[in-house]
Symmetry: C2
Subunit: 344 residues, 2 copies
């Protein structure tokens, strides 16, 4: 009896050899009907894969792809350390990619990781990503994806986030209770989940304390603080208002340090002239001048929980009856940058 | 005529199918004699690879593996941004791994990257790596590797480093010229290239200005500052000397901020009681209290030059007649932490 090859199957079914090969490997890239067609035909014809094909057959690579906006950010580097601390012990390699907040790079990274057959993805969305098709298609094909921090509303899967609303509420409340009246909010692009959640917490605190919300005190930075001029322009605009803010609540690492740099260059005294609270995981908050009041996210723990959820999806896909969104508590640490008098 | 398979070749030559397969792909993992044996036999027997094998045949993955100690360090994250800025435009994916300064993880990362068939590696050695066999073996098999920052003496390839000697000399000289007499040096493990180069610059400056070298003023931190207790113990020891230092030159990001934290906790005034200069690329040096004098490495440029050298090795291996070690200039920026009086 002659041996039937993948090429023969492809010819008989009018498919490409690559499609047949992937269908036989049960790849998520091939739709279920095609898989069924190929597998049934292969079985009927008594197809036997060769040893090399067999070595390719186990599609588990024991590796996880991580796509984050940038690694030069304490929040994300701590997140990755959390991911690696769990993954390494469970025998998974962690492959790290930066999107640099670019949609195109995020798509390119995703495609590359999939072509390298990672078992699953952990993603924090790029600030310029509004189209999610590249993730939706993969998930429909069965690739497990867990989102963390910057998560999409429109995709159903496990998500791990900080409790941005409460963190932001507490920061704003603290500024109000410290006697500040005109609290500005410098934040990321409006379509990011973290932006809307933090904005909502800020607004709710103002409302609860009877302070009217003023849109001119909120500035959105499209590049999240990575472009210094954008940062500076937003701060300038606020400082030039008829009633400039007496406090500023900044929504990220870069926006916070960028803001402090502008104040330093302009000789604006913190906290005497303006108080500042940063939503940031910067490691040297207490070494800054003045020491910085921060809302810290449990980045390490977020990474750990996200990778645990992902590995569960990879190893026991059938056991997932519903998806979770876990929201982890932030921590407000009050330092001199936001209180009435300087502490030197 | 019956088709000959890889299995048949393997059986005839008493090799594994995986060896035959890789030999036919001209993989660097197979030694030249075996390749010749396999290829000649395959040709004689009129072996023709199937289309799937063909698609695997082009061993170029257009991806570069990067292994660095840790990403939560401005120097390394800037290095990676330099690497990515060039690689992305030349169509290469950059796959990032952290060794966490562990030899075992560095070996595991290396093996994983090779199994995923990257075209080349960029490596900055883990601080606990003393055995280089995992890299030597790959290079002997033809995998291009370029080292940067923490480079091995015993491997001949392209290397890109900062001019650590001069950077360190200038920092020490600056402290001497500022009137400091007892200058301590807090540094990484002695067997790292950066440690010996920086130590040499420090010693030469002392010598040139007639200050005797005192071994008790030099402390090596095995974990490079990542373990706070180690950091703190080293500083304590120096402060408890009969003649404690009046200045400290720290050799890395972590050692520098760790040192400043200890001084802050102990209420030791900088620069009045002790001056500090850090060999660090920290982004907020001027926002610290006091603003920090730094020796900065051209991390972005180091990454760019290293990846250019690597891609040249990947794409034109025959054009490399000799290996280069490029040494890039550092920049000393003087701020309040090291000068006679505080600038507030």
């Amino acid at each position: 009896m002659e041996t039937i090859t993948i090429k023969d199957i492809a010819k008989a079914l009018n498919l490409s050899t690559s499609t047949v090969s992937r269908a036989l490997r049960n790849s998520y890239e091939i739709n279920p009907e095609t898989k069924k067609l190929v597998m049934e035909y292969a079985e009927r014809m008594n197809y036997r894969p060769n040893p090399i094909a067999l070595s390719l057959k186990d599609s588990k690579s024991k590796s996880i792809g991580v796509i984050i906006p940038e690694i030069a950010n304490h929040f994300f580097s701590q997140l990755i350390n959390g991911i690696e601390s769990i993954a390494y012990n469970l025998g998974y390699h962690v492959v790290i990619f930066q999107s640099h907040d670019s949609y195109e790079r995020e798509v390119a990274n995703t495609n590359y990781l999939v072509s390298r057959r990672v078992d699953g993805l952990l993603v924090s969305l790029a600030s310029l990503t509004t189209n999610l098709v590249h993730f939706q298609e993969l998930m429909e094909k069965g690739l497990p994806i867990v989102f963390l921090d910057r998560v999409p509303n429109d995709i159903e899967t496990h998500k791990v986030v900080a409790d941005n609303f409460t963190g932001s509420y507490e920061a704003t409340e603290h500024l109000i209770l410290s006697g500040r009246k005109r609290i500005a909010h410098l934040t990321s692009p409006i379509y990011l989940s973290i932006t809307t959640e933090r904005l909502a917490g800020y607004k709710k605190a103002l409302e609860d304390y009877g302070i009217p919300f003023d849109e001119s005190y909120v500035k959105y930075c499209l590049y999240g603080g990575k472009i210094e001029a954008e940062n500076e322009a937003a701060i300038e605009e606020m400082l030039n208002l008829p009633e400039p803010p007496d406090a500023i609540f900044t929504a990220s690492d870069r926006l916070t340090t960028g803001c402090m740099s502008v104040f330093q260059r302009k000789g604006i005294r913190v906290p005497e002239e303006i108080a500042i609270v940063g939503f940031t995981n910067i490691s040297v908050a207490e070494l800054l001048n003045p020491p910085l009041t921060t809302v810290m996210q449990p980045a390490m723990e977020m990474g750990q929980q996200a990778v645990e959820l992902l590995i569960r999806l990879i190893e026991h896909p059938q056991k997932t009856d519903r998806f979770e969104t876990r929201s982890l508590k932030t921590a407000l640490t009050i330092r001199a940058s936001s209180v009435g008098k300087t502490v030197v």
